[in-house]
């Protein structure tokens, strides 16, 4: 009896081991790391929707060098501590390619782990310049930098000849970084900065800040941060009759700002990546999203799609699934993607990426202003 049980156990564990081995040989795991929950989960939705679509379509076309892609999705809640935890989980799962993370403050600590473990990471959304400034070999992005987005916003503001501009940020890596870039460009253009001040992310009461903005009598307020705080600022500013125009980065440009700010969101200026979903060459892809009942218009949907596509093409060109070979292929190649032709510099940044100024409307739509 005892021996038969033993035999059975051995047989079962051997077959599990075999199954596992067979499994690993046929599939390339792609980690998708971003916020599924938490205050900025709507951006995570864009990321997951874009990346899943890319994986589906690549697999439908026969995979990469005959191997299928398999998504491993993890939730970092846009929290740096959680980002480290899920990064370690991806390492444990044997993932060698990651699409993520979304928030710069999560991407930064997670990328340390990926670089150490030899995992290639493509972030579809993190715009902080610091991420690619550490000489890492395996870090790439499919989005521009704050140092590109900030000046676009600041040059637009300067072209309106304002007398005084106030700059507010949420003291986080992304928000403060972009606010600093805007301030520096405005200063060079000779615009008076009446205020440069941080608020606390997650705060609800902005009455003191708004009183201060009213006192300072500014023409424009630039906000570096995300929509939950700016939505409240807009709404509370309207109630206090603060008469200025607000402007923010792509972190504020999603429809959730309308549910918080309501009519006060009308006229907000936002810098966003161009609407890739409106472009001629992407119409077939857009239709695929719509057939699935998903919205491809969010700023990070097609950048995430592109991140997966680049990993797949990198593997194909390198003829290997070694992340270092793939990184080499990405640096040397030129790729035709839904977000345009992608070429990388030594740091892993795209050689060019365009930002456009939009005017936001209270129904959640937007129109380009320049």
């Amino acid at each position: 009896m005892r021996t038969s049980v033993k035999k059975l156990v051995t047989a079962v564990s051997a077959s599990i081991a075999l199954m596992g081995a067979g499994h690993a040989a046929a599939e390339i795991k792609i980690g998708i790391a971003g916020p599924m929950t938490g205050p900025v989960a709507q951006y995570g939705d864009m990321q997951f929707s874009g990346a899943r679509m890319a994986i589906e379509r690549i697999n439908a076309d026969g995979g990469v060098n005959g191997e299928m892609l398999e998504a491993v999705e993890v939730d970092d809640v846009c929290d740096p501590k959680q980002a480290v935890t899920v990064a370690n989980r991806l390492v444990n799962d044997g993932v060698r390619f990651v699409v993520g993370h979304l928030c710069s403050s999560s991407t930064q600590p997670a990328s340390d782990i990926y670089e150490d473990e030899g995992i290639l990471m493509v972030t579809p959304a993190s715009t902080s310049p610091a991420i690619t400034e550490r000489g890492y070999e395996l870090v790439f992005r499919t989005i521009g930098l704050d140092s590109m987005q900030g000046p676009v916003a600041a040059e637009y503001l300067a072209s309106l000849n304002p007398e005084r501009v106030a700059i507010v940020h949420d003291k986080q890596q992304y928000g403060e970084g972009i606010a600093t870039a805007v301030r520096d460009t405005l200063k060079n253009a000779g615009v008076e900065i009446a205020m440069f001040e941080g608020i606390t992310a997650g705060a609800k009461d902005f009455s003191s800040l708004i009183t201060k903005l009213r006192q300072a009598d500014v023409d424009y307020v630039y906000y570096g941060g995300y929509h939950p705080e700016l939505g409240l600022i807009l709404r509370q500013a309207e109630q206090a009759d603060l008469d200025t125009v607000f402007m923010g980065p792509e972190g504020v440009g999603n429809k959730d700002i309308n549910t918080i700010a309501g009519d006060a969101a009308e006229g907000l200026l936002v810098t966003l990546p161009p609407s890739f979903d409106q472009q001629e060459q992407n119409q077939e892809l857009v239709k695929a999203f719509e057939e699935k009942g998903e919205d491809p218009s969010g700023p990070f949907v097609l950048t995430s799609y592109t991140a997966v596509q680049l990993i797949a093409e990198g593997i194909e060109q390198a003829g290997s699934t070694d992340p270092f070979d793939v990184a080499e292929a990405l640096r040397n190649g030129s790729f035709d993607t839904p977000i345009g032709t992608v070429e990388y510099d030594e740091k892993g940044d795209m050689k060019s990426f365009e930002f456009v100024v939009y005017e936001w409307h209270s129904d959640g739509s937007k129109t380009p202003v320049n």
Binding site: P39, K171, G202, T211, K212
Partner: protein, 307 residues
């Protein structure tokens, strides 16, 4: 003149936010006064009050009811009922079984309850910020048209007035009613009160229910005033209210009121004259100073050694 108007505006901002801190702080201070424990889940009770109010408002809107006083009263009553039952249930489930043990045990139980409720709302309502309709709009303004005007909105007046009414009713209740007298007796000496025939379990439950009901009032008011709620916002507000309770002297009801107002005004003055970045530095710095020089808080009574 303009500086004065600016100062007044910041004072109004501070008093408004301070009075809501006070409403939440009552829950901390009453529970501490009676059983000497800190109910860390109180911030979550406040958050649940705000969610309930929003659900009630949305429900009424769906039914096509647009008469403002009715909406407000229904939302308030629903929020108070749900929050109070929550407060009662939390005490029954998490605190009563561990009462009388080592001090740390109820404290940890409370932190666990706080995390549980936060995540429960997370799952039940989603983690996103939800917009809260501003039902009371408009206000008064002072000062000349072309320079800085001080404004006080109807919403701010409502918050301030509601807080004053709630506080006065509570003081009357504690000093005049039978349950209030029993509350005071229990807070002086739990064992003795129970020997004298007071149902201490009932009184302790009543304390949780009253604190939770006031927190629900604050939840509705702040939801309307700020404009959005999320599952985590009770935690931050709870922390501030707890600070207010300690500042004013934990265990003292006028202390909670005073502590809340001081904290609110200190915060708004700091962001108004220094920078918003120093808001929390100043308010928590204030707390440390008071604890150093007057450990029982502004209006707290020094603890008498019981023999």
């Amino acid at each position: 003149m303009q500086d004065l108007l600016y100062f007044l505006q910041q004072l109004i901002n501070g008093l408004t936010i301070g009075s809501t801190y006070a409403l939440i702080a009552i829950g901390y201070t009453m529970v501490y006064g009676i059983i000497g424990m800190i109910n860390f889940a109180h911030g979550e009770i406040y958050m649940i009050g705000a969610y309930t109010a929003l659900i009630a408002i949305t429900g009424l809107a769906a039914l096509g009811i647009a008469w403002l006083p009715l909406i407000l009263i229904v939302a308030l009553v629903c929020a108070m009922i749900v929050s109070s039952s929550m407060g009662w249930a939390v005490e029954r489930v998490a605190y009563r079984p561990v009462r009388g043990r080592h001090r740390l045990i109820p404290l940890i139980s409370a932190i666990g309850m706080s995390i549980f409720l936060q995540n429960y709302v997370h799952l039940a309502q989603g983690s996103r910020n939800i917009g809260f309709p501003a039902l009371i709009e408009g206000g008064f303004r002072f000062g000349s048209e072309d320079s800085f005007q001080t404004s006080i909105s109807y919403m701010q007046i409502t918050i301030f007035a509601t807080t004053l009414i709630c506080m006065s009713l509570l003081s009357l209740f504690i000093s005049r009613s039978r349950i209030g007298r029993a509350c005071r007796a229990v807070s002086q000496d739990l064992g003795m009160a129970s020997l004298l025939g007071i149902d201490t379990n009932r009184i302790i439950s009543a304390t949780f229910v009253i604190g939770a009901a006031l927190a629900a009032v604050a939840g509705l008011l702040l939801g309307m005033y700020y404009g959005s709620i999320d599952p985590l916002f009770g935690f931050i507000a709870g922390l501030k209210a707890f600070t207010a309770a300690v500042l004013g002297g934990i265990g003292s009801i006028p202390g909670a009121m005073l502590g809340g107002l001081i904290l609110g005004v200190a915060e708004s003055m700091t962001s108004g004259y220094l920078s918003g970045e120093y808001k929390d530095v100043v308010s928590f710095g204030l707390l440390i100073l008071i604890l150093l020089f007057k450990p029982t808080g502004l209006l707290g009574k020094p603890e008498v050694e019981k023999i």
